[in-house]
Symmetry: C2
Subunit: 271 residues, 2 copies
C-alpha cells in the first residue's frame, strides 16, 4: 500500500449512512440517534452528515421493500429515465445519488461510511470496493491498529470487471462496516457500542488526515506525525472466491444446516 | 393437577404445525421435511398430520403477510362472511379451521402441536392456553421429565376473560413449542434437533396415553404404569403479568437496549 492516501485534499463532505438494509439495527438506531443529536459526528475540520438510507424498509423492519438498495447504485439504474413503476429502492438510489453524488463526479461526497449487520459470527468486517481506494485502505489499517485484540478483517467486494453498486460507491471514497452476529430486527448493545466506536475512530482518522503532516487546515499537527503521516504498510484482505449454497431438495428447500459444532464458531474456524 | 387427563378417549387426529410464523425456521423446515417424509410422525395408534400453516409468509420468510396468523383464530374472524379484501391470514385461518376444526366442535382435531422460535434466550418454552387443558398439562409435565437438565418452562397465554386465538386453540387440546434463541429467518441445527426431539417425545406421550392403563387400544400396557397411568402432580407455570416496552423517544424510536451483561443471559437471569 502506498504511503499517500488519495485524495490529497482534506475531506470536508462526509456522510455516515445507516438503514441501507432496514432490519440491520445497529446502523438504523445510530442514524436515528445522530439525526436527533448530530454533535457526535462533528470534528474540527468537518461535520459528518447522518443519513437514514432506506426509510420505507426501516419502517417495515425489512432488508428492503422491492429490491436491494445496496445493489442499486449502478449507472443503469441511476441514469435511466424515472418511471412510476420503478422499484422503491431504485427511486431512493437516485435520491441518494443526488444527495451524496452524483457518482463519479467532482461534486460527490468525499467519503461515505455505510453501517451494516450480519447474522454471521464474523466480528468486525471492513467492506471496501477495492484496494484502489487508497484512502479507505489507510482507514482500514488505522481501524485495525485501534483494536488489535478484536478480529477486524478487510473484504474487497468488487469483482474484476464488475461495476460498483453499493451506497458508498457514490462517494469519492467509502467503506462499509459489517458487524455480527446480530439477528435481523434485533439490537444488541455490544454491537451498537462497537459500531459507534468504529465510526468515532473513522471520523478521528479523517480529522487526522485533514490536519496533514504539515498542519494543513490551520490546525497544529500532532507530534507523533512529524515525518510521513501515513506510512506505507502491508495488509491482509479477502476477496470472494465463490458462493457455496446449502444443500437443497429438488424444490429448493434446505436439506442441511450448519453443524452445531461449527455454528457461531466463524471467528475461530476462519483463523 | 388432577390425575386423569382429558379427553378420556384415545387421540387419533393429531397435527404438527410449522410455519405459523413464516420466519421461524425450526418449524418451517421440519414441516417441509415431514410433508416429504411423514413416517417420523407415525405411532402405532395414530399418524400425526404435518401442516405448513402460512405458506405465503413462509415463502416470503416473514412473520406474516397481512396480520399475525396466530392471533386470527377468534370467532369474529372465523365466522365472519368471507370478503375479497380479507387479510391473507384471516382467509388462511378459515382454511385451517376447516382442516383442523371447526373450533370448539366435536369434529375438531384431538391435538395440535404448533412449532415456534423466538430470538429470546429462553431455551424451551411450552405454551398452553390455560391449565384447564389437562391433557396439555400432563404432556408438559412429561416433556419436563424427559430432559430435566434443560430449562423447559410452561407459559399459560390466555388471560382471564380473553378468547383463545392461537392455531392450536382450534383443536380440542394443543400446545405451542417455543424455542430460542434463534434469529428470524435463520436455521440453527441445535434448535432443529431439540424441536424434533420434543415433537417425538410429545407423540410418544400421546401413544402412551392411547395405550391407557388397561391396555386400551389393544396394545399391551407398559409395566411401569400399573396403577394410575398419569398420576397427579404439581408444576410451576408462568402467566403474563404485564408488558414492558423498551424506553423510546417521542417519535417511538428506541432510546435504550438490553444491557450487554444481561443480553443472551435470559436463562440465568430468570432463575
Amino acid at each position: 500500500m502506498c504511503s499517500r492516501p488519495e485524495p490529497p485534499e482534506p475531506l470536508r463532505r462526509v456522510a455516515v449512512v445507516g438503514g441501507t438494509h432496514g432490519n440491520e439495527m445497529s446502523g438504523v438506531c445510530l442514524a436515528r440517534y445522530w439525526l436527533r443529536a448530530p454533535g457526535e459526528l462533528q470534528r474540527p475540520s468537518f461535520s459528518a452528515v447522518p443519513v437514514l438510507a432506506n426509510p420505507a424498509a426501516t419502517a417495515a423492519c425489512r432488508r428492503y421493500v422491492d429490491c436491494d438498495l445496496n445493489r442499486a447504485f449502478t449507472s443503469a439504474f441511476l441514469t435511466a429515465r424515472a418511471h412510476p413503476d420503478d422499484p422503491y429502492e431504485v427511486t431512493r438510489a437516485r435520491e441518494l445519488n443526488q444527495l451524496l453524488g452524483p457518482k463519479a463526479s467532482g461534486q460527490a461526497f468525499d467519503f461515505v461510511l455505510d453501517l451494516h449487520n450480519t447474522t454471521a459470527s464474523m466480528g468486525t468486517c471492513l467492506v471496501a470496493e477495492s484496494s484502489h481506494d487508497v484512502f479507505a485502505m489507510h482507514l482500514c489499517h488505522h481501524l485495525q491498529l485501534q483494536s488489535p485484540e478484536l478480529p477486524c478483517r478487510v473484504f474487497l467486494y468488487q469483482l474484476p470487471g464488475e461495476e460498483s453498486y453499493s451506497v458508498h460507491s457514490v462517494a469519492k471514497s467509502g467503506l462499509g462496516l459489517e458487524l455480527g452476529p446480530q439477528p435481523q430486527g434485533v439490537l444488541r448493545a455490544d454491537l451498537l457500542a462497537r459500531m459507534r466506536a468504529l465510526v468515532a475512530a473513522a471520523l478521528d482518522f479523517i480529522q487526522l488526515f485533514n490536519q496533514g503532516p504539515g498542519g494543513r487546515d490551520g490546525l497544529r499537527h500532532q507530534a507523533s506525525h512529524t515525518g510521513t503521516a501515513f506510512p506505507a504498510f502491508e495488509m491482509e484482505a479477502y476477496r470472494k472466491v465463490s458462493s457455496v449454497d446449502f444443500p437443497r431438495t429438488e424444490t429448493g428447500d434446505l436439506a442441511g444446516t450448519v453443524h452445531p459444532q461449527l455454528q457461531t464458531q466463524g471467528q475461530l474456524a476462519s483463523r
